[in-house]
């Protein structure tokens, strides 16, 4: 996997580099910013990007709710055994099981969506540099078109004190 990237020490430099890359004509999905911690104050972190995750969690909750309602009602009617003068389909106790399965549905939906959209566990090896673990921030482009490599390097260099690397 080919990549062109630079390592910066300061988030300000990273912001400049990202802006330069955008000016050089690269689109958002092509620019990769990697850090050892989430850096929330800067625009490059896309902190304000809308997320569908809340709706997906809600959807998972609804699936859990429907499953719980079906499970309790179906099993109580499938082999009805009267207990303690209570109705065969007892809604008060069923609500408890339905609640738990709703929450479980929301939790599992969230985690599964996270894994899918964050692409973990990763299949093929991805762009990474061990210096990131020491606090440096990586900005780069994976699999760049050969024609734009020079422009990318120029953009990255003008971001600030950079450690330019090519893979």
């Amino acid at each position: 996997m080919k990549a062109v990237y630079a390592l910066y020490a300061e988030p300000d430099d990273v912001q400049r580099a990202v802006d330069n890359l955008r000016a050089a004509g690269l689109t958002e999905p092509e620019i990769v910013v990697i850090s050892s911690e989430p850096i929330e104050e800067y625009e490059f972190s896309r902190r304000d990007a809308a997320t569908w995750l809340y709706w997906i969690a809600g959807g998972g909750g609804v699936i859990g709710l429907l499953f719980g309602t079906w499970l309790t009602r179906m099993t109580e009617l499938a082999w009805p055994l009267p207990t303690g003068n209570m109705p065969i389909v007892a809604w008060w106790p069923n609500l408890i099981v339905i609640f738990e399965l709703t929450m479980l549905g929301g939790i599992l939906a969230t985690v599964i969506t996270l894994f899918i959209t964050a692409k973990i566990p990763a299949g093929e090896p991805k762009l990474y540099d061990p210096d990131v673990a020491d606090g440096k921030i990586l900005v780069g482009v994976e699999n760049p078109r050969d024609a734009s490599v020079a422009a990318i390097e120029q953009a990255l260099r003008s971001g600030g004190v950079a450690d330019l690397k090519r893979r």
Binding site: L81, P82, T83, G84, N85, M86, A90, P93
Partner: protein
């Protein structure tokens, strides 16, 4: 009209002899746990004779009360069993299904009458005592709950015979072991859905009361209060 089995206990007639307890043990293969376990509170008397003293010697009065499973219509032991081992039958009995029981003992805690018992160990019947076991009743293994069933094996046997002979059941056809062995005829068993049966008439008696009926368990055993001085 399905049967609805109930009992009446006449406390005026009960002498506290304990024949019902012995008969129940014999009929239902209930193990005797031994003196050590009994001292630890693990005796398994599906029917027990409760004994209460009133007053001081020499004016002490003794009261006896045989207590067995009340086969409650709103039994608190039934909804709490996670495996439906304790459930209600169509004839109004609270059934205990040994094979479903995993021994959580929740039913015993929920029972206000404390008439449910747990098999703490595998019961032993050293030879030749094993010959006295009743083949109509299962032997329970360690870890399950058991209790009075109104001798459901006798009820089933009589019902099957009556069906085969194409006749109706009469009052007094079914006699659980305790009822059969009571020398004072204090215990009466019968169909509460038959308004003419002895147990129905006794349940309507002005002396009649239910045990702990303010708890809302709807028990089916009527206790006729003691009127005479002992």
């Amino acid at each position: 009209m399905p049967h609805r089995w109930g009992m009446a206990v006449d406390l005026d007639r009960c002498t506290g002899c304990g024949a019902c307890v012995t008969a129940c043990h014999a009929e239902n293969n209930i193990p005797t746990v031994g003196p050590d376990q009994a001292a630890r509170g693990r005796a398994m008397h599906w029917i027990r004779v409760e004994r209460y003293w009133e007053g001081e010697f020499p004016d002490a009065h003794l009261k006896f009360r045989p207590v067995m499973c009340q086969q409650c219509d709103a039994a608190p032991c039934e909804p709490v069993c996670p495996t439906y081992a304790s459930h209600h039958t169509e004839e109004g009995l609270n059934a205990q299904v040994y094979n479903r029981c995993i021994g959580t003992r929740y039913c015993a805690n929920a029972c206000p009458y404390n008439v449910r018992f747990f098999d703490f160990f595998n019961p032993q019947w050293p030879k030749p005592l094993h010959l006295q076991l009743n083949p109509d009743v299962s032997v329970r293994e360690v870890g399950v709950m058991e209790k009075c069933t109104f001798c459901v094996q006798r009820i089933n046997a009589v019902e099957i015979d009556a069906k085969a002979a194409k006749r109706e059941l009469e009052d007094g056809d079914v006699k659980p072991a305790c009822v059969q062995s009571c020398s004072a005829k204090a215990l009466v068993f019968g169909d509460l859905n038959d308004p003419e049966s002895v147990v129905s008439r006794l349940s309507r008696s002005p002396r009649g009361a239910k045990l702990l009926d303010d708890l809302g368990t709807l028990p089916k055993v009527t206790y006729l209060s003691k009127q005479t001085q002992a």
